[in-house]
Assembly symmetry: C2
Homo-oligomer: 211 residues x 2
């Protein structure tokens, strides 16, 4: 393992954008694409595209560009989406139920294998092809179904408790939608998404625009 210079977090994000665009190009049966063209489609410079890719290897062909069908599996491998991930959704409110059924996840190799809630009124309800289970059953399910990711969709007050439960159950990855900063140990991975905050990024610009 070489002493790897650190890869900017923003570069990882762009890798996903490249992959998304490449899959679009493949659907159009495009065979190659240059860094210039890829950048143009995503509002990035060609230098940025090449730099991001070379953090991980040499994927291009001088004078030619990048072969679409060659680069796609490479990016998938880097991003870890060349395999299946088993996911549980914790919290069966509006958002939890929607994400459980979201095709955007299922298409990308994420299997939603369980939906959990503490509310007795919700337990037993069917949501798509899932049935809401009790949080108490989480630990058993994680072992039985080899779960790697928990999507947290409970209210802010419950998020840390539910996260702790998920981690104790052996789930290493947390995708948090609750509007709270979670404390997780370094041996686990956490990504947070606060949709209201994202909307505030919009209103910040909008306020200036409309004033």
């Amino acid at each position: 393992m070489s002493a790897r210079r650190p890869v900017p977090k923003a570069a990882i994000f762009r890798l996903s954008l490249y992959l998304r665009e490449l899959e679009r190009l493949r659907a159009e049966t495009r065979e190659t694409v240059s860094s210039r063209e890829l950048g143009r489609a995503l509002n990035l410079t060609d230098a940025q595209v090449r730099k991001d890719l070379t953090y991980f290897g040499q994927f291009g062909h001088r004078g030619v560009g990048y072969r679409v069908s060659e680069l796609i599996p490479q990016l998938r491998h880097i991003l870890g989406t060349d395999r299946k991930w088993n996911v549980v959704v914790l919290g069966a409110g509006n958002l939890g139920r929607a994400l459980s059924a979201y095709r955007g996840f299922r298409n990308q190799g994420f299997n939603i294998v369980g939906l959990f809630d503490n509310d007795p009124a919700k337990i037993g309800q069917d949501v798509g092809d899932l049935t809401v289970e009790s949080m108490d059953a989480l630990s058993t399910t994680v072992q039985a179904r080899d779960v790697q990711i928990a999507i947290i969709c409970v209210p802010a007050e419950a998020a840390q408790t539910v996260t702790d439960l998920a981690l104790r159950s052996g789930i290493p990855g947390i995708f948090n939608f609750a509007p709270v900063t979670l404390e997780v140990p370094g041996s686990t991975v956490e990504v947070s998404e606060d949709l209201a905050i994202r909307l505030e990024q919009l209103t910040f610009d909008l306020s200036k625009l409309l004033s």
Copy 2:
């Protein structure tokens, strides 16, 4: 208007985190908070907290810290959440229906005033206190209900078309959940959120952790 040094985009995002944390502190009836403490709660340095705030003014009190009930309205004003925003949701699939009913938005001053879809089978359906309307009715609604924001929840293929329709209808702000890079004129504001990509940021780290 002074020649304002540019504010990092990341700083705007953190402003929202400060606001969220301050509201939590206020619920606990805390009166003041220091930059050190605020940073600790959010995994940031105290210098970062102070720097971010001073992009917009002098809100603190030397020797004391920041008064919670004083800073909250200041941040709300900066972020544009000291007013109501009227929002329509375009696309009444799983995600669109969930976001239409999402309390996390409603609580923050976002009024969802319409839910639209092109599918005749969906038009007329009730979703919470909304009824799905035809996309054709969008333009009329925007004028009647003074809409500033459209949340795009249609499939990738339809997103640009629906966005163009929203912009033509006079909506200046686009919050896009479709997995596609939109083209919008500079006179409008756009924020994109690809949930599958966010999940890939998690699997990138997770792959390394589990290998």
